[in-house]
Symmetry: C2
Subunit: 245 residues, 2 copies
């Protein structure tokens, strides 16, 4: 039991009114914030957090994320987020999440893929496989891994967006959560009124910077399945997909 507890991270949250969307539901970007919070503290408590990485002039970079929700928490719900390391490779590590309600019923799951970069060169750097592997946990995460996202960008058009101060993270790049926010803003309020996102997936391709002019694209690729692309100078810097029901 002791070992198990050390590997698995457990984080309680209480949803507050100011964190909910107009439907009174927790949003995907807010769930993303919870995931990053849990990942960040879970890693720091095990010696591979932001500060530890920074001491070696390295940093974690979120590469892919998939979130599946069965039910979105509403007002003042006590929820618990579990996180654990599923696998560690030479360049990538996968971290899973399970979100449960106050009765322990699963609300959803998430899978994330992380790489480490050298903060000076901004290039990928090998992971400390041995140290990280110590925390690998066998636990079920019953959702598909992040997969290939269909390209939907066009040569012209797209919704323009210029990266602002509030979009930047501590490295001076477009914040992981803000990519989600801008892509999810492509859907109409009617869509949010009538449906829910069952699965959301995002793939970060390159870093957005201050004042960068972006073009956002979105298209339905099959019934209720949408792909999105965030482009800069005709090149996608991020792709996402949403399955609605």
């Amino acid at each position: 039991m002791e070992t198990k507890k050390t590997k698995l991270g457990e984080f309680p949250f209480v949803t507050e009114s100011y964190l909910l969307d107009f439907r009174g539901q927790l949003t995907i970007p807010m769930i993303g914030t919870y995931l990053l919070h849990a990942a960040s503290i879970h890693a720091a408590q095990r010696g591979f957090g932001f500060a530890d990485m920074n001491n070696r002039r390295t940093a974690w970079v979120l590469s892919r994320l998939a979130i599946e929700m069965y039910r979105y928490p509403g007002m003042s719900e006590h929820i618990t987020l579990y996180t654990w390391i599923e696998d560690v490779g030479r360049l990538f590590t996968s971290r899973c999440f399970e979100l449960v309600d106050a009765s322990g019923v699963p609300l959803g799951y998430a899978r994330s893929i992380w790489a480490a970069i050298d903060v000076d060169s901004r290039k990928p750097t090998p992971l400390d496989v041995e140290a990280l592997s110590e925390y690998i946990t066998q636990r079920d995460c019953p959702i598909e891994k992040p997969g290939k996202i269909q390209a939907v960008e066009q040569e012209t058009g797209g919704v323009p967006y210029r990266v602002r101060y509030s979009d930047l993270d501590v490295n001076g790049h477009l914040n992981s959560i803000k990519y989600m926010e801008h892509m999810l803003d492509l859907f109409s309020l009617d869509m949010y009124d009538q449906k829910n996102i069952r699965r959301f997936e995002i793939s970060y391709l390159s870093e957005g910077r201050y004042d960068m002019d972006l073009q956002l694209f979105m298209a339905e690729t099959s019934t209720n399945k949408y792909s999105m692309a965030m482009c800069h100078e005709d090149k996608a810097i991020c792709r996402a997909a949403a399955l609605w029901d």
Copy 2:
């Protein structure tokens, strides 16, 4: 001591890397989020929270807010936010905040003015002065009250912004924090690189709605002092002021 504790709310936070701006500092909107969090829980624990208000078909509306910061917290700092009710009138109540670092040294203070509205008519409704007054606390909040903000809007021009899904709060209106975010994005990255906002003040005049076309204005009104306005159809829906040093 018991009574004192009941009146004063105390909320611990730990700053996380993903909450900081490109300078590694907590932002004004993030501090605003902490203030709303503390206010929301403090009120709920005393029987006048979101749910209690909603049961009476009323809701709290933030009218004005002033934040003064002596130092902005950086990475992984343990900070404590105190909040208390300073005064209760027929239509408005004032709530104060003190933010201290891990050694108890004040980082800054804030003052907020709240009104209650009837959620159906969206009109102000009288406060339960007797019940709220029970929690009035005598405690020093050594910053000036929110004051008059100089109008800086022009007939034409302004930075355009259209209200999006991610901007909406649980009432379907532009979220209090998003007003701040959009106004603070008017300052250049150079400005943030060289200076800090010593005092920030905001006055909410009317509600922003989905798809509303806004124009944002900003002008230096005296050395290092800037006013901002957020307008819709030539009418300000929000004003803000920032003093930099």
